[in-house]
Symmetry: C2
Subunit: 457 residues, 2 copies
């Protein structure tokens, strides 16, 4: 865009949202142009911060007319560069679309702006005995729009599913600037294609989500957590299968390993959770209106494969056990900037996959250190590699390659973004990619929504 | 198509599937050309019954070349004419694609051909302690492919969701004859658009489903059912809200009314379930590995709004209580061919909607009789009208009109098919319809898949 055309475009943007909300100054733009890991960045023409759906629609129409790409951004907490501007694009920040509506207690639903943070929604609904089905560590920054656009997962997926399942209504601006509104809140509605769930997980490439109707879940009054020491991953899977069958209150099942636990203990100065060390740890949480402790204890006590277990059902004790799991991210980051790979494999392939990983990494980069943890119910592992020196790309290739050969997913919950766009061609078959591209072209013929995300430019 | 062209086309079809499986004789075609209600029918060029995915792909390619529309048909148990041939089309019957694979007990998944009946899958998985999350009365005929294509619901949606949620993998033939295979079985997979769940519920207009990977649920060992007499619908909703909060084992919550219960009793010769009659009945079922009776009883006993309740937890008693609910369809049909409308409204609007219905019907057709029942958790009602004489269309219009004005869905679970295609324009907004049409054109540019379904011809 030549300078006079750019100036005219900026002037038109300013007319829509007002001068305060079109940010062109480079120092002011910076925090919108780089993701929080610092790995991905790009230079935007401007950052625009609309305050309502009508302004979003006007911005989209304007971008369409001028052929300016548009990158939607929520809390900028993504891990795959999906909200970082492409060259010459504008960043559309949803943070001002942060209204949290009145809670409908009969339907257990609430309408919220795409820019409302998860924490803000939690604060609004928890006093009513309700909760959002998905929770994750970035709750104070991550926005509902971003969580849905990336179909975020987290630790409760085994009970409540990912974000896609929490959405019962959506308002979004389409590429031609029209506003699509489907806010019925009906949990059964078989009238045509499920556009709501198609837009969920489309990473801002099909529509700009502006408002969301969330289905809420009951807020459990009592939580019980057990940390279980086990001999191997296959045993952890089998123990979990039994627990899932017998405990409908089961909410989380997190897997980690001896090396990770020792690292967390050292970094955070935590005492050992149990007298002996074990190769594999499974942390399970049951949550219910009435105390699930007896039910969980009953299942654990009769299982001879469990080497040791500690249990907590008071706030402090529960938090202390979760610290062993949640301390992993920080402890690993303290060793240097890690490569973070978020993968899943079929359950039957998980033990062999986990056994093979160290050998593969050793071969590519003998100096590299691997730590991993994840969500066992979905065989979803966060593979973190530190001390990789110049081997980052080769390590990524080697790990994603065995994921694909195991029939797995190269992105279980973080999305594809720009980081893995080149990998998508190997992860999905040609007919799938062709169908996806057809849908992209059909809904965004000029390609103004988040170019470079999902499909390489 | 002129006779020589038709003969050449039939010959080419025969070459693909063999002479036994191309049915052109009118008397042999008849059962494929009319739906089971007898309300919808059409004349097909031929019925073709491929035995595997390669044959389906070849048939689709052939139809594409000749511009012959193709109507996929499973068990032909639909209620909206979605599997009835359009003029000059062929019916592609999936009944020979009926393979049921080996059950993966670690992942609790099974791969089945689209033509396998729900009953066949249930028979294969139940001995392993597993079950299909969706169950419905047409299980002996309804096929898995048809259930997914229409996103079938049924009585357990409150616990397990509709068919869309049971699918973790899909193989389908696209309109250009390519085979799209996504059979990973991963419950977390954020690599691009969710084509699997887009095809679910698309009623055969985007792709022909050939194989499905189903996520199974634990088969509960114990079932407890309570039939509850209540003063009104709002109270039933409130009682259900409490039960859902406190009983994660809750599986079903069916609503019916005094007039329906009396009709069922008379038709089937059943005794009264409780000493007094009540305006509203709520039938709830809890199912679990261990007996849920005490937990259910505890909740019911303390609720003063419950006028009366009977409870059963033995096989015979459970079936007897369900008979009061499941006897409705047959009892109403005995009065004459009913108009069957399957609608949902937002929970908050349900009591007013139910109160308004008789007045509206009385106004349009004073002679008509209404019976209704449904799934309370989703505010999904099956409105059945008998004695409608010449007022069928006006009654349908009047009921669907108030559904739309209540913010509801004109098809909660049966789909749109041909029956409600003309209504879709009023049920979904212009931008939604435009987006749906774009997707249809993108994936099926020649319009060979199920023309007339969803979008009026």
């Amino acid at each position: 865009m030549n300078p006079p055309a750019r100036d005219a475009f900026i002037a038109a943007l300013t007319k829509i949202v007002g001068p305060t909300h079109v940010i062109t100054d480079p120092s002011m733009r910076a925090s919108y142009e780089t993701d929080w890991t610092g790995r991905f960045s790009g230079q935007a023409l401007a950052v625009v911060r609309p305050k309502n759906t009508a302004q979003v629609a006007a911005v989209v129409s304007l971008c369409g007319e001028h052929g300016v790409p548009l990158v939607p951004q929520g809390g900028n907490t993504g891990l795959v560069g999906g909200a970082v501007p492409s060259e010459g694009s504008i960043v559309l920040s949803t943070t001002r679309l942060n209204n949290v509506g009145t809670v409908d207690e009969v339907a257990a639903q609430v309408a919220v702006g795409a820019g409302a943070t998860l924490a803000a929604v939690q604060a609004a609904v928890r006093p009513r005995g309700l909760d959002v089905g998905v929770d994750l560590a970035s709750r104070d920054s991550a926005t509902i729009g971003g969580l849905i656009a990336t179909n975020a997962g987290g630790e409760r997926v085994l009970r409540y599913g990912s974000m896609r399942r929490q959405v019962v209504g959506l308002e979004a601006v389409l590429a031609d600037g029209t506003v699509m509104k489907h806010m019925t809140g009906l949990t059964k509605d078989n009238t045509g294609y499920d556009l709501v769930r198609l837009f969920a997980g489309s990473e801002g490439t099909l529509a700009i989500i502006t408002t969301v109707l969330l289905q809420l879940v009951p807020l459990p009054a009592k939580r019980t957590v057990a940390l279980i020491g086990l001999a191997d991953v296959a045993t952890a899977q089998s123990v979990l299968t039994g627990l899932r069958l017998r405990l409908p209150q089961l909410t989380a099942a997190e897997l980690f390993f001896d090396a990770g636990l020792e690292l967390v203990r050292e970094h955070a100065g935590l005492s050992a959770p149990m007298p002996d060390r074990h190769p594999v740890y499974l942390l399970v949480e049951a949550a219910d209106v009435s105390d699930p402790t007896d039910a969980l204890l009953f299942q654990l006590e009769k299982d001879v494969r469990i080497r040791d277990a500690v249990l907590a059902n008071d706030t402090k004790g529960v938090a202390a056990l979760w610290d062993y799991r949640e301390g992993h991210t920080e402890a690993v980051s303290a060793l240097g900037t890690p490569i973070k790979l978020d993968v899943a494999v079929p359950a039957a392939a998980l033990p062999a996959f986990i056994a093979a990983l160290p050998l593969i990494i050793e071969k590519v980069a003998p100096e590299a250190q691997m730590f991993m943890w994840g969500h066992l119910a979905e065989s979803n592992l966060h593979v973190n590699l530190v001390n990789v020196n110049g081997d980052a790309d080769r390590l990524t290739d080697a790990v994603l390659d065995i994921v694909i050969r195991s029939g797995g997913s190269i992105s279980a919950e973080h999305g594809v973004g720009r980081a893995k766009a080149a990998w998508l061609e190997r992860a999905r078959s040609a007919p799938e990619l062709a169908a996806m591209r057809s849908i992209k072209v059909a809904l965004d013929p000029r390609g103004i929504f988040n170019p470079g995300v999902l499909f390489p430019e």
